[in-house]
């Protein structure tokens, strides 16, 4: 590693400044604001705010459909993470094994990643549209009368489907580069030592892929919890009321549609704490099992 010596002791801090500024302005400042406003009830028209202590938290946790939405969010996160991670890995393993036309195959799989989440949501909405959606038409032959935006479970299915589809290329890229980072000779040694390809995968390939897998696990959970916002929005927006939404979307609804800034701030603080605890848990208990080369 090359070490650079600075003549002026303040110069390194100057170089760090833009990065720090971005983090402070777009992360710490809003977070502190959210924590602060979660203790107040904000006048909808902006004429003032009243300190209410923990009432917003109480209302959020025990009021209305918060717990239902929390349960849905947990399921949504688990299903999206597991599906997009395992499908991405499966495709990467298969793409890694083919010899001819590999680059065309890889490009086709990666291309989806270039689609922005709202655009993905829009494509998904068309795909599951009541009148023109090809998927709805297809499943109707099997007797499934799909009503996305009306039926709770159908909407959940569409949301999960689109979210998984959107995230597969990301996982695919990382899994593939992780796989290609495994030395060829180690794989060859394994083919001599172990006959079953399936067993080789579990005993040699997957453990060597664990740093990538661990990274992806955290990224995918964050994706499912937060980044699916655009997809959820396009699927449920302007639809009948009884649709599944995730916690992040509820925060948006309460804050910007319902003008309940205090309540939505309290919810976002709760979510922040949950994610914080979850991340600590992952690093403490899961990372121990990760083998870094």
């Amino acid at each position: 590693m090359k070490r650079v010596q600075f003549n002026n002791r303040f110069l390194p801090y100057l170089f760090l400044l833009p990065q720090m500024a971005v983090i402070v302005i777009f992360f710490y400042w809003p977070s502190i604001q959210a924590i602060q406003s979660s203790f107040y009830i904000e006048d909808p028209f902006g004429f003032g705010s009243t300190f209410v202590g923990l009432r917003n938290y109480h209302d959020a946790l025990f009021g209305g459909d918060y717990l239902n939405i929390a349960v849905f969010t947990v399921w949504f996160t688990i299903v999206v993470t597991v599906l997009s991670l395992s499908i991405g890995l499966l495709l990467a393993v298969k793409a890694d094994a083919i010899l001819r036309g590999a680059s065309a195959y890889k490009t086709a799989l990666i291309a989806v990643y270039a689609v922005a989440p709202p655009a993905a949501g829009l494509i998904g909405s068309m795909f599951f549209d009541q009148h023109i959606g090809p998927f709805v038409k297809l499943v109707s032959y099997f007797g499934w009368d799909m009503k996305v935006g009306v039926n709770y479970y159908d909407t959940a299915f569409a949301m999960i489907f689109i979210s998984v589809w959107k995230q597969i290329p990301y996982n695919f890229i990382f899994c593939l580069s992780g796989l290609q980072g495994i030395p060829v000779s180690v794989r060859e040694a394994a083919t001599i030592d172990c006959r079953s390809g399936f067993r080789r995968f579990w005993t040699v390939i997957l453990p060597l892929l664990s740093p990538t897998a661990f990274f992806l696990l955290i990224i995918n959970m964050t994706y499912s919890l937060f980044d699916t916002f655009g997809i959820v929005d396009t699927v449920v927006k302007d639809k009948a009321a009884n649709n599944p939404v995730t916690l992040v979307y509820k925060i948006y609804l309460d804050g910007f549609r319902g003008n309940d800034l205090g309540g939505s701030s309290a919810q976002s603080v709760i979510l922040m704490i949950v994610v914080f605890v979850l991340t600590i848990f992952q690093f403490r208990f899961l990372e121990r099992r990760v083998h870094y080369g």
């Binding site: 030395p183 000779s185 180690v186 060859e188 040694a189 394994a190 083919t191 001599i192 030592d193 172990c194 006959r195 079953s196 067993r199 005993t203 040699v204 453990p207 060597l208 664990s210 083998h291 080369g293």
Partner: protein
């Protein structure tokens, strides 16, 4: 322990490139075969075809009488030692050694016994619980060897196993591999580009060039009777001197100068091979003049680089030999090698001629008996 038959094996890549062409090797049970050649000669490809890591395009390979062309690598009953060790980085030394046995359903007690035996043999006992990254290069190489030994396979395949080690370690590991192989008596195929490694390890050498076998034979046989100019220049250090020469009525001309050497060969151009260590200096008499360009002192020997008849030539002499001002060279007649100019193949001259062809050589030839003078 088994015999390995490699019969007319070729490797043809898509696009028609022949990496290995019509290779025939019959390896006896317990024999140590070394495949040697420059990079790109197909030696590794051949080894990998035996291992099952490359498909066999043509021909067949059988181990212990069983044709293994279409057998999975894991079922060929072979073990391979890779150049970069190829240890499983996430497993301890013990698990690395045990992995191949475990996958074959070997009972736990048997695995323990075999790993313990191999660890004792390779002095790996203190390191069994360590991960490979906590080991030195030499120790990793031992683990790689141990992984092969515990399996008790029909054959060991070595793919340049020592080239990642430093020079000193390489020499000691070379000795250990040789001893181990003798002790276990396992048929082995060893790939290297290092001719010294090849000479010291092999029961029989296989010299490969451009995917074809140039020569198969015991190391000394290959050294003393190289089958072609390629083998002559590849085996032995310093490389054999190869000079263009002309045979005329039994006498030999080097370049356009009369050398006074004689050979029972028909008239025409030949390539003359002279080993640096076979050449002798004479202070007087009829040897051919040799002008020194520069000298390399290697400690044990001294290499004289110079010109003879206008062609570069290397002579190896003892370091404590005083160099006379006027150097002339001689060589024993049975140490001359002749090769065809067009094919590079070895030519055997007929029985030594009764009558020396040139007047100038008469005294030298009669003085030294077998020695011919330049």
């Amino acid at each position: 322990m088994a015999r390995i038959e490699i019969a007319r094996v070729s490797k043809i890549y898509t696009g028609g490139v022949r990496a290995v062409s019509d290779v025939d090797i019959d390896i006896a049970d317990g024999e140590f075969i070394v495949l040697v050649g420059p990079s790109g000669c197909g030696k590794s490809t051949l080894l990998r075809m035996v291992a099952g890591l490359e498909t066999i395009s043509e021909g067949s390979v059988s181990i212990g009488g069983r044709r293994i062309n279409d057998v999975e690598p894991a079922e060929r009953d072979i073990a391979m030692v890779f150049q970069n060790y190829a240890l499983y980085p996430h497993m301890s030394v013990y698990k690395n050694l045990a992995y191949g046995l475990k996958n074959r359903g070997t009972p736990k007690a048997e695995i323990d016994a075999r790993v313990a035996e191999a660890a004792r043999m390779l002095e790996l006992e203190p390191y069994l619980e360590r991960k490979p990254r906590a080991l030195s290069g030499g120790q990793r190489q031992r683990v790689a060897m141990g992984r092969a030994i515990v399996r008790k396979p029909a054959a060991f395949l070595f793919d340049e196993p020592l080239s990642n080690l430093d020079a000193k370690l390489r020499v000691s590991m070379r000795g250990e591999i040789k001893q181990l192989q003798k002790r276990l008596g396992t048929t082995s195929i060893y790939v290297t580009h290092d001719q010294l490694e090849a000479m010291t390890l092999a029961d029989r050498l296989v010299v490969l060039n451009g995917g074809r076998i140039e020569q198969i034979g015991a190391p000394l046989e290959v050294y003393h009777r190289p089958a072609s100019t390629f083998v002559a220049s590849f085996i032995g250090s310093p490389a054999m001197n190869l000079l263009p020469a002309t045979v005329f009525n039994g006498g030999i001309l080097i370049g356009d100068q009369l050398s006074g050497l004689s050979a029972n060969l028909p008239n025409g151009h030949v390539t003359l091979g002279l080993r640096a260590e076979d050449l002798r200096l004479v202070t007087q008499g009829t040897g051919m003049p040799f002008t020194i360009s520069f000298i390399e002192d290697l400690g044990a020997q001294r290499l004289l680089h110079g010109l003879c008849g206008g062609h570069p030539l290397v002579v190896a002499v003892s370091p404590d030999l005083d160099l006379p001002a006027n150097i002339r060279l001689t060589i024993a007649a049975d140490r001359l090698h002749f090769f065809a100019v067009d094919t590079g193949k070895r030519i055997e001259p007929g029985p030594a001629p009764v009558q020396p062809a040139q007047n100038g050589t008469e005294t030298a030839a009669s003085e030294a008996g077998m020695t011919a003078g330049f």
